[in-house]
Every structure is written in C-alpha cells, then in structure tokens.
Symmetry: D2
Subunit: 382 residues, 4 copies
C-alpha cells in the first residue's frame, strides 16, 4: 500500500464532539486521510463544515446516500475506502448498511445501532458483504487495558472471582438538555438514543470493558435503573449486579447524574492469584495486587509488559497518552487490517471491536431494561 | 471528675488484634485507664495477659461473670466504671447484658450481638438500666467522615441521589482459617460469627457508614452473597443494590476475597448540588465536587471545616491521624459522656454509635441474608 | 486559507523518537500535512523513511540543503511552507538558518542550537528574515500549564516567593549509550549535544517551564552538576539553586540517572496568596492551595478555568490529553499564526515559544556550566 | 519489670501542641504513665494543667528544678523514671543536664539544644552519667521509613547517587507571630529558637531523615536561606545543595512560607539498582522503582517487608497509622530499652535517636547558617 487510506465521514459537522474526536484520532498515526464527508443534515452546512476541514466542495455531500453513491462512481485511485459513522444512535444502522452493501468498509461509533434487531441484521450484512467493520469501543485501545487483558489471558491473576466496573459522569446532573445543549438533547430522546439512556451511552462501554479484559461474558444481570433528571424518560443512572459465566460476581454502576464526575470509567478484577485495577482518568497506570508480593504498578512502555501492551504504546514511558491515542489505536488497528486486505494479505488476529461486540452491547442494553422493568429481577444477557 | 475512667476488658488476651486496638485507642486521650480484665478463657491465660499489661494479678479474672461480680464489690474509688467487650460475636450479648444489669456501662465491638433478637433485647436492657452503651463503629470517628456528614447535614450537597459504598479486603483469599489463624477461624464459623460472614464483619461497617454520613436509612436492598473460599459456609463476598428512604439508589460491595485489598472501605455520595468521596486507607482527605467550582479537598484541621470535624482533630493539619485515632474518638466521646454522667451533668448530643445502631446493623445482616436466599430479591431493612 | 499547511521535515527517519512525535503532533489538529522530508543522512534511507510515510519518492531528499533548494523551486501551490527540524542539537542551527534565509518558516526542536553564539545569531536571522520560528518547548502546551500561568498573570497567587522545579528521568542509569541505543549515544556526545548533557536535554525544559509559568526570569543560579555514568563527560544529573528576578528563591533538579523515574517533570510555585503544583506525568490536574480555602484542583475543561486554559483543551473534562496533545498545541498555535500571516492578517498574541526562548535556554545552559566549573558559585543568567 | 515506666514532663502545659503529642504518643503502647510535670512557668498554671491530666496536685511543680529535686527524694517505687522535655529550644539543655546529673533518663524534643556548644556538652553528660537519652526525631518511627532504611542497608537499591529531601509548611506565610500565636512567636525569636528558624525547626528533621535512611553523612552543603515574613530575623525558608560522604549529590528544601503546604516532609533516594520515595503526609506507602521490574509499593504489614519494618507496625495492613504512632515508636523503643536497663538486661541495638543525632542536627544548623552568610558557599557539616 503506497498511499494513506481514504476516509469519508458521516455526521460530525462543525461543533460535533465525537466527529472531531474521530478526525483527530484517525489522523494521529498518519495512515488515514479524510477525503470527503456528509457532515450535516443539509448540503450547505455540510459544505461549510467540510471547508473548515480543507476539503474540496465537491466532496462535501448533503446526505450519506449521496456520498456513498457518488463516491462509488469515483475512480479507485480517488474514492474513499471506508466511512466513519459519527451520528446519533438512530443514524448508525442506515448508513452502515448502505455503505457495506455498496462496497465500503465501515468504522462506526457505538452503540452499534438503535435496536437489537438492527444490530443482529447488521452483523449479518457484515458477514455477507465481507467488508470490515470496526466499532469504536475506544477504551480498549489503552496500553494498560491491553496489559490488563494480557495478565488475565496469560493466567497471571488466576480464576476471576469478582469484578467491579463503573462509568460515572455528572454532566446531566442538571437539565442541560433544556438549555439547547446538542450533546444532551439527543441522548435523552428515545427516538435518537434507543431504549437506553446512560445505559446505552456509557453503560455499554462498561460492559464492553469488563468482557474485554476478563474474557468472560456476563451471564445474567439485575439492573436498577434511575431517572433523576426532571422530565426525562430514559435512565440517567443505573446500578447492576453481575454474574459472569464462570461464576464470578460483581457490580456495575453507571451514571450521568453523578455530580462532579467527569469521565470516571474504572474497573477492578479480582482473581485467586492476583488482581488488577484501571482508571480511565489516569490511564497510564495499571495497579496490580499479588498474594505474596507488594503492589506492582505497570506503565506504558515501562518494565515487564506483555507485547500486547507494548504494541500499542507510541511514546516512551512517562509521556502520557490519553483519550485520543487510545481512540487512535482502534483506527490504527482497523487501518492496518484494511491495508492488509487491500494488499491481498491476511492478518492473524485483528485487534479492534467488531459487529459482534456491537450485538453484545445491544443484548446488554436489552437485558438491563428488561430486568429493570421487572424490579431488577435477574435477566440473561443473550 | 478528678480521675481517669476505669475500664475492665472482656476478651483481648495476648495476640488478640482487636483487644490491642481497644486498649491503645482507649489510652490515647488520657481519659481512660485499664484496671482489670477477663482476657481469656482460663484464669491462667487471663493472668498472663494481664501481667503483660502491668495489671495486678487480682484484677485478672478467669471469666467475665467473675469480673463483673467481684468488681461490683470493690469500693467505688477502685472498681471499674465500664467494660469493654472485644470477644468474637457470639460472646457480645452475654457479658453486655450482665454488665449493664450489674450497673456497669459498656463499650462493645460490633456487630452488637450474634442474632437480631439479642440485639433488640439488648437495646431494651440499655434503656431499662439507663447505662451508657457505645458500639465501636470506629470509622465514624474520622474527622473527614464528620466533615462529610456535616456537609450533608448543612445541606451543602443538596438532595442525595446516589451512593456507592464498598469495604474490600483480601485476607481470606486463601483458606487461612485452615492454617490455624485465629482471626480467620472464628469469622468463618456461624456459631461464633452469626449468619453473616464478611457481611457481619465488614458489611455492617459499610452499612453504618452510609447511613451515618447520609442521615438516610437504607429502605430496601437486593443482596447477592458469594462463598468463594473452599469449605466455607458463610459469605466471604457480597454485592448489594441499595434503595435509600429518600429515593436515592446505590451499590454496596464487600469482600474478604478481594485479593490484595487491605482495608479498602470507601464511600461516595452524590447530591444534586455537590458530591463527596472518602477512602479509609487515605483518611485525611475528603474529596468534594461542586456544580460550578473546582474539586475541593478538605483535610483535618485544614481550611473551611465545620466544627463537627474540627472537634475531633487532635493535631495540626498535615500530621496524619489514622485508624487508632478514629477508634479513640469513639472512646473519647463515650468517656466525655460518661464523665458528665458521673459528674451529674448532661451532654447535649453525645456523638458515638449506640445500641440503636447495633440493632440497625443486625437488621441489615438479616435483610441481606434473606434477600440472598431469595435470589437477590428486594428485602426491606427493618 | 483553503488548504492545510505543508511541512517538510529535517531528520526523523524511521526509528526516530522525536521525529515521530513531531509528525503525530503536527497531524492531530488537521491543519498541517507532511509533504516532504530529508529524514536521514543518505538519500536511500531518506526515501525509505519517506515511503513508509506515504510520501512520493521525489519529495524525499538526501540532505536538508537539497530539500530547501529544490522545494524553493516548486510552484507556490505545491512547495512546503515550513520546515520542522528534529535532528540532534548540532544539526539545529545549519538547517534553521538556511531555511529562514530561503524563505521558509521554521519549527525546531530544543535546545535551539549547539552553542549560545549560534542561538544569538539565529535570533537575529529570524528578525531579519521576518519568518516565523517556533521552538517546541512542548510542555507549555498543556491546558493546566496555561491555567497555572493564568493564575499567576491574573495575580491570584500574589507575589511569588518560592519555586521548585524538577525534571527527573532514569533511562541513563546504566550505560545504555554503550549498547548502541541511538537516543543515548548522541545525547552523551558533546559534539552533537553541546556543553550540556541532561542540562541541555531536559534542564532547559525545566528552565523554560519555570520562567513561562512565573513570568519571572532566573536572575542567577548555583549549579552542581553530576557525571555518574561511567565514561561520560557530560552531566547526567544536576542540582541548582535559583534566585528569581523578583527575589523569589528556589531549587531545580534534573537527572537522567534518577533510576525508575520515567519523565517526571514537575513544578511548584508558592506565592503570598496562593500556590500551585503541576506534574507532567499526571498533566490533567492543577493542584492549588489558598490561604483560607481548601485545596482546589483544576482539570481541563473543568470548572472555573481561565480562557487561556480553555482555549487549548480539545475534548471534554475527564478525557485525558497527554504529551502528544500538548506538543500538538505548539504546532496548532504556530499553524494558526502562519495561516494568518499567509492570509495577510495579523494575530494579537501568538502563543508558542520562539527564538527568544531559545536564546534564554542557551544562556541557562552556559550559566549552569560556568557555575559548576566554579564549584557551584553564583552565576548570572544572561 | 512489673509496672509501667513513670514519666515526668517538662513544659507542655494546657494548649501546648507538642506536649500533648508527647503525652498521647507515650501513652499508646501502654508502657508509660505520666506521673508528674512542671508544665508551665508558674506553679499555678502547672497545677491547672496537671489537674486536667488527672495528676495529683503535689506532683505538679512550678519549675523543672523543683520537680527534679523533689522527685529524686521520692521512694523508688514512686518517683519518676525519666523526664520528657517539650519546651522551646532554649529550655532543652538546662533541664536535660540537670535531670541526667540527678539520675533521671531523658526524652527530649528536637533540636537537642539552643547552641552547638550545648549539644556537644550534653552528649558528654549523657556519656558520663550513663543515663539514656532519646531525641524525638519522630519521623524515623514510621514503618515505611524503617523499610526504606532496610532496603538501603540490605543493598537492594545499590550505591546511592542522588537524594531529594524537602520539608514544606505554609503556616508562617502570614505574620501569625504578630497575632499572639504561641507556636509562632517563640519559633521566630532567636533567643528561644537559636540561630536557625525553619532550619532548626524542620530542616533538622529533613537532615535527620536523609542521614537515617541513607546511612550516609552530609559531607558538605551550600545553603541559601530566605527571610520572607515581614519583621523576621530568622530564616523561614531554605534551599540547600547537598554532597553526601559517598559522592552522592542532592537537594534539600524547607520552608514555613510555602503557602498551603501542611506538613510536607518527603524524601527520594536514588541508587544504581533501585530507588525509593516516601511522603510523610501519606506515610503508609513506600514507593520503589527498579531497573527491570515495575514500580513496587510497600505498605505496613503488607507483603515482602523486612523485619525492621514489621517490628514497628501495630495493626494489620490497610489500617493507617500516622503521626502519633510513629512518635509513639520512639517512646516505645526508648521504653523497651529503659525497661531492659532497669531489669539489668542489655539490648542489642536500641532503635531511637540519641544525643549523637542531636549533635549532628546542630552541626547541620551551624553549617547552613555559615554557608548562607557566605552567599551559599560550600560548608562542611562537622
């Protein structure tokens, strides 16, 4: 491959939080360039957003349909290779489906779709079309999350007995959605967000992280969802009991009304030989405990790491990498895979979340809502 | 009062962890002296323990019954004023009852008794006899716990919406009770520990802390208890959903198989104006968040504290106080009350846990066990 | 400006640490694209490096001289706008001078040059040519460093009395330069590094940070340099007393033999109204103390920040930004300035380090070496 | 020994900070009882203080001379065994000398005396009289300081190359001595404090800590003292370059005008095999770094400790011990030694600071003042 991969973006117009994140993250490793976009709901706005990104006007489209169809007709040396979908949840499935069916690979923000049915269908489309699909569960891109997973995979902490995972934010503590804040308004709207509020927005990250690190599925859960913000219909808080498939037990807590919390995603995993602890807000530390040794703290590119962690560290120890870098790792691993595919090569173990993880996330949302409706009775996650 | 208060100890022979703690804690503030004890199950061992504590042989008794009866016959200028009960749980009720009924005040370790029935009876005896009774929920003695409670009481953090409390230890990760470790062996034995394992031993501290700081009762709970240690019958782990009386929701997690955790009691309380966070292992910080201000961290004898916190700080800011000092504060407040009583004075708001808190702890244990038996169905705590 | 700025890189071939950093950092904000490079000492290696970066072969040059001359002849719509110099210290001045004198703007790694004389000459060339020059003292790009500077500038912490700054690394604790490690070998070589070892490599960052945040110049210093690594001639450790121009006093410590330290740059500034503390390894916190208020901790995009800090935060609070992002801020502010210039506009207060800061850094190096040679006698920094 | 040791206190009347600390600390381990005191400058005040401590009036003396002479005449079964001197610096030497020469052992607060000459004389008196003398450099009593020293002594961190020690307080940031604050007023008065201000009050703790942990003497120093508080004549701030006897280099910083700092004593020691870091405000952690292993954190009664640390931990891991407990360890080790002596036994390696450490502290003060007067020229510490 003697060129960068070409990305077309769907959503992410001027002022978008997550669109900007995707652009920055995809740019860090120098493997991807943004070549076109359907950034907004009107052609005019889309062009305005695109110009600010130095795109030519004729690659700024008014709708994703237009973009997919027109790009498809461009010569191979020019047209986009994949789309990046950064719209609200209800607009994940339609462009993903259309892009895949028209020969484009897809990177999509999470949750994968609005409904579980869509998710299952999308997974099938991915299989059928043979195109690549990455879901940006970005927190799994951190070196210390990779190290955590590796410590589990290599058996270092033994059989897992207990997990604690939380994802706490406080930005919906007041009714910001009534002030016209765009990030808030679609998230509290079931039509655009789906049946989960905080549950879908951040609970799915917690679910993904715990299953990713432990390699264990949540077998069943008991969820007590809360709706604290005045006038809201979707959950803005949740407390969940977990039972993992191997008999381990645990808790999950997520919230967007945990006043003062910024982006406090954290996980603890206790085995019968060791335990580990990771905090997203201080991501460059992995705290571990052992039966007969002192506490050990791992750092990116520090001593005694597994290759899984070393592979995703970009800079020397002590030079903190953060949110964008972890996000970039999802793009990098996707790009590496896609370049291999375009070169006619294969890759042994592509390391990024896929449609399967997306389906899993939707199953989690549906199980939690079902449990909550039944006064937090146990519900299987499948 | 022109003399120190005289304490007689029940339990706490040589090698005891908690007996030593009670002795050190009661000694710190110079208001209490140990004058006698029934430290062990035989007179010989008791004398041996007492001698190591520089007690005269004739004040070292073979049984608590003997101690109570003989001390009662000593002249007022000499006999003990109160007993301190530091035995395993099954031996809390009998000496407490006998001491109270024979005119002695009581300080008792927690949980208050082996069973809920005993607890209710003991509370009645306390009322009937009019004697003072303190329960050593020692963690409420920390200056920063007092400040946390004061922030809630003064309305600073507003209406509480969410709580998280955990008490995690790892010392029962392996079957230490099979190695002859005394601390472990009685704790895993229902006859001596009661129907709760980790639940009674440390879960009650978590329950007490959350109700103490928030001023709210746990209305109902859903408890999923775990028994991970081989051969155990009592829980060594538990995850609990909480619903507070005001509609707040939360989680509690406690464990003695959380490998590597030392004594990780921690609490977070989220209101609609502010939130707070306290960690027992780093007790000299109270972390608070606010809607429109930066994170603020309070420290003992630091800036902007409420009197409730200032009153229990012994030394200047930056000089860490720890476990023993907080424990000592329970004794100090009890001693201050008792001295007032002995001087024929009254005290406005004695600040230490009482039999009422002990009953509450037993209700919590019983509710959690009942819920767990019913597959973590909701159970009222009353 | 309707296109990205075009960057040509000097140095930074495959395997380079800092070249990779400059590329990633310059790419994050989507304002700059790499269009050419003289990456290595031979054309062959340079081409190989360039190809891995998806550059066309004819834009990969064998020498910086060739690059500057050939790019100059390309049409304006195609040729590079500025060079980024990422070579070892002895190769900073020659390409910077030539680029400036041939009409190209310059971004250069620090220290600005090999010698103080070169630095002074380069500052003159910058003035004479009127081209822009940015020096990548990257740590000043952190939001919390901006907030620290703003707290000082707005008078919040009052008159500064005391400073502590340190930059501690441990990677030269053993003689890694003898193992063929490239990063180490040039840094311990006076011909390529200059008269300072750790002093020039990291001491200058400490000097820059303390002068940047306090707005005060170091008036004089007393430096005790150490050479601990066997066979080394340049300092790998240093301890320095500081006297600031306003009468404040302080210490600086830097080291590359502080075993186990990764990249521990940290600063404390004490005023007579408040004080502040920042740690590079945990860059998303600014800890502040006040006469009559509790400790306050600021976070990027958190509450109560000055615009100076808000302006350089890319993502919401709690989403950690790190080393690359701060580095990117230098590029972003340089690019913003350069775009304005190319558009014929002016900018009020360009916010990035310039040749003046570079001269200051060299003065610091020379003062410290002179002091050290005189048994740590006081030496003026000018 | 079948009784507690009997302590007489000199100084420490009601309202005294350090007297209260000595009383609490000496009481924790149940080996010492306070039996008499010359607490204040008048008999009346002394009696009032003594009564509040439940002492009989006839053991409350108006002067230390009276106490020493009268106690000497009491029968052995009754009179005090040792004195505890907790007066301002100028009143350390006279009572210490008189007590020793009248057959009493001595515990004294630091610095040992007002002048170096007195210190040297006192050391001789200790030797001549054969009485025990303990100096309360309390910070060496922490388990993690013992572990730090043990790691050095056992060779684990190799040859020491670099040290950093600081003792930062902010309580003299404003002129509190002019508000009648007693703690402040004598500390800024050369007649009562000696030639060092912050230097003697807290700098000596820093000096003691660095020599205690490293086992190395400070060979020479270069001190730049500051006087920031209006109207002060003694230093309230100091920055010092250190050269240790083995060639290691380092810095020391102490201050009482470091606004917002509470009691920030901290030390880092870098060897060629490992390094260690300890912070008094978070005393239950010892952070260590290693060439080829991750960061390891030791905790009191945690895994992998040396006996030196285990010996001084009172309670299980995770139950924080603080300032009083470390202080108590000095008393405990002194009491253990004294009991042995009174029993006619010997003890192999008594572990508490002695008159020798006191002389060392005075040499440090004198060297620092001499260096400062000579514009921070190097001065030998001897």
């Amino acid at each position: 491959m003697n060129r960068k991969l070409r990305m077309g973006m769907i959503g992410g117009g001027t002022g978008s939080f997550i669109g900007d994140v995707h652009r920055k993250a995809s740019g860090i490793d120098g493997m991807i360039e943004l070549v076109c976009g359907a950034f907004s709901s009107t052609a005019e706005k889309s062009i305005s957003s695109g110009k600010a990104l130095f795109l030519p006007e004729d690659r700024c489209y008014g709708t994703f349909e237009e973009m997919i169809l027109k790009e498809k007709e461009l010569p191979e040396g020019e047209r986009m290779d994949f789309v990046s979908i950064v719209t609200p949840n209800h607009m994940h499935f339609p462009p993903a489906k259309m892009a895949l069916e028209n020969g484009f690979h897809v990177v999509s923000d999470k949750p994968i779709t609005l409904t579980l049915d869509e998710a299952i269908e999308l997974e099938k489309i991915v299989k059928k079309t043979g195109k690549l699909f990455a879901l940006t569960h970005n927190y799994t891109g951190h070196p210390m999350v990779k190290q955590a997973k590796a410590l589990v995979d290599h058996g270092d902490i033994g059989n897992i007995r207990k997990v604690q995972v939380q994802y706490l934010q406080g930005w919906l503590s007041t009714a910001v959605e009534q002030t016209g804040q765009k990030q808030a308004s679609w998230r509290v709207d079931p039509k655009r967000s789906g049946i989960g509020g905080a549950l879908g927005d951040i609970g799915t990250h917690a679910e993904n992280l715990v299953e990713y690190i432990t390699g264990l599925k949540i077998d069943e859960l008991a969820a007590d969802l809360g709706v604290f913000g005045e006038g809201r219909t979707l959950d803005d808080d949740g407390n969940v009991l977990l039972r993992m498939e191997n008999g381990a037990k645990g808790t999950m807590s997520f919230s967007q009304i945990a006043l003062g919390e910024e982006n406090n995603l954290a996980i603890k995993v206790y085995g019968d030989k060791g335990s580990l602890e990771w905090h997203q807000e201080n991501p460059n530390q992995l705290i571990t405990h052992w039966l007969e040794e002192p506490v050990k703290i791992y750092t990116p590119n520090g001593n005694n790491l597994y290759n899984e962690a070393l592979n995703v560290s970009r800079i020397p120890a002590g030079h903190p990498e953060g949110y964008l870098e972890a996000f970039a790792t999802i793009y990098k691993n996707f790009a590496t895979h896609l370049m291999a595919v375009l070169n006619g090569e294969t890759i042994e173990k592509p390391d990024y979340p896929t449609a399967k993880d997306g389906v899993r996330g939707m199953q989690f949302i549906y199980a939690a809502v079902a449990s909550d409706k039944n006064n937090a009775a146990w519900e299987k996650v499948d």
